[in-house]
């Protein structure tokens, strides 16, 4: 299993600013993902955070808007840049502990409100 801590748990941000979300895992994990969940909606994959290399982004998400770092096997950050009200959402860090498909563990999420 894996225990994930995300910070901040929530924040209120001004339009045009940037915010960095941190994800810390209590063990080394192979796969780390960042998801977005708008209120009452499904989970949308933003990107796969790759250790030691650039993240792999899904269609509709770009590095300039959502830069991601993953310096080691237990930590990752997601920055939401130049925020607008449309970025108001819950951002979730997720990890898989094996190299193949299996259980995903999710952090509690970071709820961002952009004014």
């Amino acid at each position: 299993s894996a225990v994930i801590s995300q910070k901040p748990s929530r924040d209120i941000c001004q339009r045009g600013t940037s915010l960095t979300i941190q994800c810390q895992v209590d063990s080394q994990v192979t796969m780390m993902f960042w998801y977005r969940q708008q209120p009452g909606q499904s989970l949308t994959l933003i990107a796969t955070a790759n250790q030691g290399s650039e993240a792999t982004y899904e269609s509709g998400f770009v590095i300039d808007k959502f830069p991601i770092s993953r310096p080691n096997l237990t930590f990752s950050t997601l920055t939401v840049s130049n925020m607008s009200p449309e970025d108001s959402s819950i951002y979730l860090c997720s990890v898989g502990t094996g190299p193949t498909t299996g259980e995903l563990f999710f952090g509690e999420g970071s709820r961002l409100t952009v004014l």
Binding site: T30, Q41, L45, E103
Partner: protein
Amino acid sequence: QQPVQSPQAVILREGEDAVINCSSSKALYSVHWYRQKHGEAPVFLMILLKGGEQKGHDKISASFNEKKQQSSLYLTASQLSYSGTYFCGTEIRAAGNKLTFGGGTRVLVKP
């Protein structure tokens, strides 16, 4: 492409049964099921890897019909704790857990 879940919502009395369906337009490698309670993180229920495979978790079970490219989640003798939103997540190939989630099914179990 996002899998389609049905129904979007269901209300049950304690002890009743329900079925949630998850359909894909593409052939699937795996189907995952998660439950998310309000304000909490999604929690893994089960994964199905082979066509026709059925798995269980307490009185919650699931099947995977590879030919029909769909999976069904069965809530049997529902309990109050079953309330939440259920999501299926799919992989069209072995992609290291990179899931595409369905729109979710809200389940409310009443006493």
